[in-house]
């Protein structure tokens, strides 16, 4: 039995069991368990300070201070299988005084591959990521988007089985983001497992196979968008703009929402956004607002996107 269990473990690219981490007496992560399957693309989302980056850095060994729980890569302690990981840090990790070509050579050697292999792999990745720049240029001569792409290339020259990307879309325009998503999907098709963090929730939901929401250092949710909607009882977004809205009425609406388990996701001056589970809740809410003699326009009643669901989470 133990043998079978071990064999199963070996097939899992990444598994974490009850990982906990504290820094300066502050608990950053608590009992974070996660399994990443082959060819799976998982996004970890959460508010700033929820522990997303810390979790990825623990997996990649960037944070090497003591943590509780286990992190295994293909069934082995992460220390013994580090070469199967490709960690793309949020900050650019390139040597500004050396050319792109020299950066590729050094990064390749650092990752344990020969200069020749690194150049060959870099050419392949540069073509996939449409980075057709002169390799004799220095990294500082590249644009922000090009730097992000080079940063990714330099981190995966050893053709890792698992790609870990910490906020890879920061500072990228729409076209560059699309390009990067296509690239990650092609990696996934090549049976690579991808785990990333992102704040671009709506865009992320379209591409990943699974979402993991971290809240106060704990896994709040793990699954797809539909499952999340069910969990949060939020199938609709209802947006209203009032002609006039007094502080007194706002308090009344808040009390009503709390009583009926409705969530006010956003409010600004005379605008309110509700997260609703059923159409009936909308009808009841309208009746209540009419009782208060409030005049309003319905801005929208629609399905929520991930950003809006995240507001409720």
């Amino acid at each position: 039995m133990k043998f079978l269990k071990r064999l199963r473990e070996k097939k899992k690219p990444l598994s974490t069991t009850e990982v906990g981490f504290s820094y300066s007496n502050q608990e950053v992560l608590r009992d974070v368990s996660l399994t990443l399957k082959e060819g799976e693309m998982v996004a970890i989302i959460g508010k700033s300070g929820s522990g997303k980056s810390t979790f990825l850095k623990l997996i990649a060994g960037i944070i090497s201070e003591k943590h509780t729980g286990k992190i295994k890569i293909f069934g082995k302690n992460k220390f013994f299988n580090k070469n199967k990981l490709g960690f793309v840090p949020q900050e650019f990790s390139m040597i500004p005084d050396l050319s792109i070509l020299d950066n590729i050579k050094i990064a390749g050697l650092t990752l344990g591959v020969s200069e020749k292999t690194a150049i060959k792999k870099a050419n392949e990745l540069m073509s996939m990521l449409k980075l057709n720049e002169d390799v004799n240029k220095k990294p500082n001569q590249l644009s922000g988007g090009q730097k992000v792409r080079l940063n990714i290339i330099l981190s995966i020259l050893h053709d890792p089985k698992i790609l870990i990307l910490d906020e890879p879309f920061v500072g990228l325009d729409f076209l560059n983001r699309r390009l990067l998503w296509h690239f990650l999907e092609s990696m996934r098709k090549k049976k690579k497992s991808v785990i990333l963090t992102s704040h671009l929730l709506t865009e992320t939901q379209e591409h990943v196979t699974r979402l993991i929401i971290l809240k106060d250092g704990q896994v709040f949710f793990s699954g797809n968008l539909e499952k999340l909607k069910t969990k949060l009882k939020m199938n609709y977004i209802y947006e209203l703009r009032f002609t006039h809205l007094s502080k007194e009425n706002i308090e009344k609406i808040k009390k009503y929402s709390a009583y009926k388990d409705l969530k006010i996701l956003d409010s600004y001056e005379r605008y309110l956004m509700f997260g609703l589970n059923t159409e009936r809740e909308r009808t009841n809410l309208i009746k209540f607002l009419e009782k208060l003699n409030l005049k309003f326009n319905e801005v929208s009643f629609r399905e929520p996107n991930l950003d809006e669901i995240f507001l409720k989470a």
Binding site: P89, M94, L98, K105, L109, T110, G112
Partner: protein
């Protein structure tokens, strides 16, 4: 293994390429040893002292005791007569005594006879700053005693002149020369003769001190590198290695290292790189000193030990600075803060004897002190050095690994 070797080669190659690309560092690396080693060839000066002097008093008279009890700023340590000179030399070589003062038999008698007396001063001619000042300092210390002797002589001369004056007075008063007067005249004549025959040397300098080095005379010229090499190494390597770590932090190269492998091969490769720089610096200085006429015994084992000792310890200290400091400016200030005091207590710019005891003690427990002693042992006396420094290096290495993991 192949993968490890590639990583290792990658780290080495990266720093070599950076040295070439970052021209300021390259210039600094070549120019500093040339400038500082050239500056070193100028003489130095000093102030107050706290000097332990071993005394071999073969005369054992009140006058001989007076010679060493009044020495300004010296701390006399009376040694037994038996085999005294050999003990003095050996204690100086071991660094337990700063000087040896030999007072020969007949020292007091010579002074009484108004003849110049001699003393021998033994000193360490490889202790650069101190030996440069020893003649001046010893003579300075002897001034009170010499003044006392000259005062005594003055009194004696006054007595003798007064005695002659008495004789002449008698002759002047008595018309016929009696036998009494004849005796007086003879005494006066004898005293005058003594004054006439008095040594000019005695009047100029009643006590002559011979300064005798405990090592061959030529060693003093050769000894320069013994100080300059470890000092310059600590000065430059602290700065280069600490800023190199800052650079790797700023460019997130350290993040890449941590995510791809254990930091041990990274630290090892960097340590070897900077130790190689130490070797190059050493060779530059060695050539410069040899062109200036110095000659050295160059034992291969001892030299390798020395270069590794200086290179590894200084590099690891630099890494610690780099890992503690937030940016290059701070790292440089840190390095200066450590290397300058080390230089001051090293005995090259100021004789260590001129420093307060507590500072001397602190200086002795710092690595530069051991590096200078090791350089002296290897370069001047062709010896090998003890490998106990490896434990110190291991301790520093563990601290560096811990700091990188904590980074």
């Amino acid at each position: 293994m192949k993968t490890q070797a590639r990583r290792f080669y990658g780290y080495l190659k990266k720093d070599t390429m950076l040295l070439y690309k970052r021209k300021k560092y390259l210039y600094l690396f070549i120019l500093l040893p040339l400038i500082i080693a050239s500056l070193f060839l100028f003489a130095l000066n000093s102030k107050d002292y706290n000097i332990d002097v071993g005394i071999c008093d073969f005369d054992k008279t009140d006058i001989s005791r007076g010679a060493y009890s009044q020495l300004n700023g010296f701390n006399p340590i009376i040694l037994p007569k038996d085999n005294c000179i050999e003990i003095v030399k050996s204690e100086i070589r071991l660094g337990k005594l700063d000087l040896g003062l030999i007072i020969p038999n007949g020292f007091a008698n010579n002074i009484k006879n108004l003849e110049q007396s001699r003393m021998q001063i033994y000193y360490d001619n490889t202790d650069i700053a101190f030996s440069n000042l020893i003649s001046w300092k010893v003579d300075q210390a002897m001034v009170p005693f010499k003044r006392q002797i000259i005062n005594n002589l003055n009194k004696e001369l006054s007595n003798k002149v007064s005695s002659v004056r008495d004789g002449i007075d008698v002759i002047m008063e008595i018309s016929s020369i009696s036998s009494f007067a004849n005796d007086k005249i003879e005494t006066a004549d004898s005293e005058l003769q003594k004054i006439e025959e008095m040594e000019t040397e005695f009047l100029v300098n009643p006590i002559w001190t011979d300064k005798i080095p405990v090592y061959e005379e030529g060693l003093k010229k050769d000894a320069g590198i013994v100080y300059v090499f470890p000092i310059l190494a600590i000065f430059i390597i602290l700065m280069l290695s600490s800023t190199s770590i800052i650079y790797d932090k700023n460019t997130n190269f350290l993040t890449r290292v941590k995510s791809s492998a254990s930091p041990i091969s990274y630290i090892l490769a960097k340590t070897i790189f900077f130790t190689a720089l130490v070797l190059v610096q050493f060779l530059i200085m060695l050539i410069l000193f040899m062109l200036n006429g110095a000659s050295y015994t160059l034992p291969i084992t001892g030299l390798i030990q020395l270069i590794l000792f200086v290179g590894i310890i200084d590099t690891l200290l630099g890494f610690i600075i780099g890992l503690i400091a937030n940016n290059e400016g701070i790292a440089i200030l840190f390095s200066l803060m450590i290397s300058f005091p080390l230089m001051l207590v090293s005995g090259i710019f100021f004789p260590t004897q001129s420093l307060p005891k507590i500072v001397q003690w602190v200086g002795e427990i710092l690595p530069l002190h051991y590096q200078i002693n090791a350089s002296k042992a290897v370069l001047l006396f062709g010896q090998t050095i003890s490998n106990t420094w490896i434990w110190f290096a291991l301790g520093l290495f563990i601290i560096v690994v811990w700091l990188i993991r904590k980074e």
